[in-house]
C-alpha cells in the first residue's frame, strides 16, 4: 500500500497563536491544517495514513532523500503512524522512473541514523522561533506606533540577505563616477584597416590621453610582437540546483524560484533527476549509456547522443559534491504529455548540459599583436574557435564569439589613420539580480538550495525590494537600518552561518539538536531585548518609511476634476502598469492619467501652473525631469502643435 504526504503534513506553531504575543520559545509540531488555515487537505491525509498504519506490518519511507523529505517522512512516521520512525525502512532514489523506484523499494534498508531528519526538524524549529519572534516584535512596534497592523517580517536568512542588498543599494545611490579616457588607434596596412587599443587601458587624466594622441600623429606603427596560443576549454560541469537556476536566469530570464518549480514538475514527470542537489557529479551508477540511448530517441539530440555512444562516455565532473543526490540529469524518458514552452526550455537546457558534459574539450586560438607607435604601445587581440567539441552539444546556450586578428608578422609597418580619445565614466556598482543574489547567498553559505529562491521571493512580497534589478525600497532600507541599530547580530551573516555549520554537525550526529536549539534561543532572546526595549523608536522609524513608500509616494495631491478626491499612483493588478487615478473612482470620478513605466516616480508639492494637475519628479535615464501628469495639459497641447 502506497500513500503520499504531498508536502509537509505537520508544521510548527506556538500554543498562543496570537500575533501580539512574543517572545515565544515553547513551540511544537502540529498537523498542518491547524497551523495554516488554507491547508485543509492535511487533516484528511493524516487521517487516511493513520487508518492505513493501523493494519500495516512494515513501513517504508520513500520521501525525497534530502532534509525536507526526511523531515516530512520522520513526522508522518512519528505522529501519524505512531512512533514508527526508527523501525521504518528507507527507500532512496534520484529519479521517478518506474525502474528506479522499483529497485529502490526492493533495496529499502533500515536507516543508519536520523541525522538528516533531526537536522531538518531543527532547522524548521530554529527558523520558526527566529521568524515568529522578530516578525512579531517588528509588526507590533509598527502597530503600537502607527495604529495600523502591517506584517514586517525578518527571517534568519532573510535578514543578512536584505542587508547585502541594502549595502549595495547605498553604494549605488551615493555613487559618483570618476572620468577616464580610452585611447584607440585606427591603423592601415595593404588596404586593410583595423583598430587597436592603448595598452595601458584606462587613462585617468585628459592631458595624458591627449598627449598619447599627439605623440602618435603622423607616425608609423611597427608590430613588435605577435603571440599566438591555443587554449583548451573544458566542458562545463553538470548542473547542481544553483548552477541550473543561474543558467536559466541568464538564458531565459527565469527567476530562481520559477526554474525550481519547473524542474520539480519535470522530476515528477520522470524526465529529470531530483533537482534539489548541490552535486556537480554524475556517478557511473546512473548508467550513462542507458540515458544516452534514451536521448538518442529525441530528434534534436539523436546525432549528439549517437556520437557519444560510439566512444566510452565519461563526463566532466565538477568540484561540488552531495552525498544524497547526483547532479541534475535527464532520465532519457520521453515526455508523456505536452511540455509547455518554459518546461520544454528547462528540459532542453538540462539535456544539453548533460550531453555537453560528455563532449570533448573545445580548442580556441588566441592572438595578440603589440604595435609600437610614437613611443606608445597598442594591442590588437582576438580569438577564434578551432574545434567546437562540447560547444556543439550545448548549442545556443554556449557563448564563443570569434574576433579575427589580421595576419601580421613582427616588423610589419602600419600607417596611423587616426588616434581617438574617448571620454568615459566609471560605472556604478552593479545591481544584484535574482541570479547573482542567489550566487551571493551560496558563497556566504546562508540558506539552503531548497530555500534560497523562496527567501528572495518573500522579500519582494514584503515590499522590501522591487523590480527585476532588486531595488531596495524605503521600507527595506528602514528595516535594515532599524535592525542594525537595535539588534545588529540578526542582519550579520556570522550568526546565521554559525547555525548552518552547527546544523551540519546535527546532521552528522556530532551535536544534539536540543543543545543547538537552546543556543539559538539564547541568541534570539538577547537580540529581542534591544528591539522590545525600543519598541516606540522601532515603530516610528519603520512607519516613517512605510509612509514614504506607501503613502507619500503614492498620493499626488487634490483631484482637479472632482475637487474632493486625491489623485494617487495606482498599480494595475491585471497589467502591473502604474497610472494616476482618483480616490473617488467609486463615487464616479474618472480622472486618470498614464505614467512613465520605467524609472522612479516621486511626488512633488507642486501643481502645474497651466492646469493645476500634480507635477511628479521622474528619475529614468540620464537627467531627472518634472512632468505634469495631465495628458491634456494646455502646455503639452501647445508643445505638440509647435
Amino acid at each position: 500500500m502506497v500513500c503520499s504526504a504531498q508536502g509537509h503534513l505537520y508544521g510548527i506553531s506556538d500554543p498562543f497563536g496570537e500575533r501580539a504575543v512574543y517572545p515565544v520559545f515553547d513551540v511544537e509540531w502540529y498537523p498542518s491544517n491547524l497551523v495554516e488555515e488554507k491547508n485543509t487537505s492535511a487533516a484528511r491525509r493524516i487521517d487516511a495514513i493513520r487508518r492505513l498504519a493501523g493494519s500495516a506490518a512494515k513501513f517504508v519511507n520513500a520521501c525525497d532523500f534530502d532534509a525536507e523529505g526526511e523531515t516530512i517522512g520522520f513526522n508522518v512516521l512519528r505522529y501519524a503512524c505512531g512512533d514508527k520512525e526508527t523501525e521504518a525502512l528507507r527507500a532512496k532514489f534520484s529519479t521517478l522512473t518506474k525502474d528506479d523506484v522499483l529497485v529502490a523499494l526492493r533495496q529499502a534498508k533500515p536507516q543508519a541514523g536520523a541525522g538528516l531528519a533531526r537536522a531538518g526538524r531543527t532547522r524548521h524549529l530554529i527558523d520558526f522561533v527566529w521568524g515568529v519572534n522578530l516578525s512579531r516584535v517588528l509588526s507590533q512596534s509598527v502597530l503600537s506606533s502607527g495604529h495600523t497592523y502591517r506584517m514586517v517580517s525578518m527571517g534568519r536568512v532573510q535578514g543578512p540577505t536584505l542587508a547585502f542588498l541594502v549595502k549595495r543599494e547605498t553604494e549605488i545611490r551615493e555613487f559618483v563616477p570618476l572620468p577616464f579616457w580610452r585611447v584607440s588607434g585606427k591603423f592601415e596596412r595593404n588596404g586593410m584597416h583595423f583598430v587597436a587599443r592603448y595598452s595601458k587601458g584606462r587613462v585617468k587624466s585628459k592631458t595624458t590621453a591627449e598627449g598619447v594622441r599627439d605623440d602618435c600623429k603622423g607616425k608609423e606603427g611597427v608590430a613588435t610582437s605577435v603571440v599566438k596560443s591555443t587554449l583548451q576549454v573544458s566542458p562545463p560541469p553538470p548542473f547542481n540546483t544553483g548552477d541550473l537556476q543561474k543558467e536559466a536566469y541568464r538564458i531565459f530570464g527565469f527567476s530562481p524560484s520559477r526554474t525550481l518549480t519547473i524542474a520539480e514538475k519535470l522530476y515528477l514527470n520522470a524526465l529529470i533527476s531530483y533537482p534539489r542537489t548541490s552535486s556537480q557529479h554524475l556517478p557511473p551508477s546512473i548508467n550513462y549509456r542507458a540515458i544516452l540511448r534514451g536521448l538518442e530517441r529525441f530528434d534534436r539530440y539523436a546525432k549528439l547522443a549517437k556520437n557519444l555512444l560510439e566512444g566510452t562516455p565519461n563526463p566532466t565532473q565538477g568540484t561540488k559534491a552531495d552525498s544524497a543526490h547526483p547532479a541534475v540529469y535527464p532520465t532519457g524518458e520521453a515526455p508523456r504529455r505536452h511540455l509547455n514552452p518554459p518546461e520544454a526550455a528547462v528540459f532542453d537546457l538540462i539535456s544539453r548540459r548533460f550531453l555537453a558534459a560528455f563532449g570533448p574539450p573545445a580548442r580556441r586560438e588566441l592572438a595578440t599583436v603589440r604595435l609600437s607607435v610614437g613611443g606608445h604601445e597598442f594591442l590588437l587581440s582576438g580569438g577564434r574557435t578551432l574545434y567546437r567539441g562540447w560547444i556543439d552539444s550545448y548549442g545556443r546556450y554556449a557563448s564563443a564569439s570569434d574576433v579575427n586578428v589580421p595576419s601580421v608578422a613582427e616588423g610589419d609597418r602600419f600607417r596611423v589613420v587616426k588616434v581617438a580619445v574617448e571620454e568615459k565614466f566609471e560605472e556604478g556598482p552593479p545591481r544584484y539580480n535574482q541570479s547573482s543574489l542567489l550566487e551571493k547567498m551560496e558563497r556566504e553559505n546562508i540558506g539552503t538550495k531548497a530555500t534560497r529562491a523562496d527567501i528572495i521571493s518573500t522579500m519582494v512580497e514584503r515590499g522590501y525590494v522591487e523590480g527585476d534589478d532588486m531595488r531596495v525600497t524605503d521600507l527595506g532600507l528602514a528595516v535594515i537600518e532599524t535592525m542594525e541599530k537595535y539588534a545588529p547580530m540578526i542582519v550579520t551573516t556570522k550568526l546565521t552561518r554559525a547555525i548552518e555549520e552547527k546544523l551540519e554537525e546535527v546532521e552528522n550526529e556530532v551535536r544534539g539538536e536540543a543543545e543547538l536549539l537552546r543556543e539559538t534561543i539564547r541568541s534570539i532572546a538577547q537580540q529581542l531585548v534591544g528591539l522590545s526595549e525600543n519598541e516606540d523608536a522601532v515603530g516610528r522609524e519603520i512607519n516613517a518609511a512605510l509612509a514614504a513608500t506607501v503613502g507619500a509616494s503614492y498620493v499626488l495631491g487634490p483631484c482637479p476634476v472632482c475637487k474632493s478626491g486625491q489623485l494617487r499612483i495606482i498599480r494595475s493588478k491585471k497589467t502591473k502598469k502604474r497610472f494616476v487615478g482618483c480616490s473617488n473612482y467609486a463615487l464616479g470620478c474618472r480622472a486618470s492619467a498614464p505614467l512613465p513605466q520605467r524609472g522612479t516616480v516621486r511626488t512633488t508639492p507642486k501643481a502645474c501652473p497651466h492646469c493645476s494637475w500634480p507635477v511628479v519628479h521622474v528619475m529614468a535615464g540620464r537627467i531627472p525631469w518634472r512632468l505634469c501628469v495631465n495628458p491634456m495639459c494646455p502646455a503639452k497641447c501647445e508643445w505638440k502643435k509647435a
Binding site: 551615493e174 514614504a548 537627467i623
Partner: protein, 68 residues
C-alpha cells in the same frame, strides 16, 4: 529633525544616507579636477547631476549644492 532632501530622520539637515552622498560628492571633486586639469565647482556639480552613472542620492546632493 527631517532631512531636507527626504523625509528620513536627520541629525543636522541631512539624513545619514544623504550625508554619505555629500561626502562622496565633495571628495570626488578633487579627483575630477585632477582628471580634467581644472574645473569650476559649479561645472562639476552640473556634470555630476547630469551623469547617468551618478547615484540618486549623489544627484540630489549635487542639485542641492548647486542651488546654494
Amino acid at each position: 529633525m527631517k532631512c531636507v532632501l527626504c523625509s528620513r530622520e536627520a541629525v543636522s539637515d541631512l539624513c545619514t544616507y544623504h550625508q554619505g552622498a555629500k561626502r562622496k560628492v565633495e571628495a570626488s571633486y578633487r579627483l575630477w579636477t585632477e582628471a580634467y586639469g581644472e574645473m569650476e565647482w559649479k561645472d562639476y556639480l552640473d556634470k555630476v547631476k547630469r551623469n547617468r552613472q551618478t547615484g540618486q542620492w549623489a544627484k540630489e546632493i549635487a542639485e542641492m549644492l548647486e542651488g546654494l
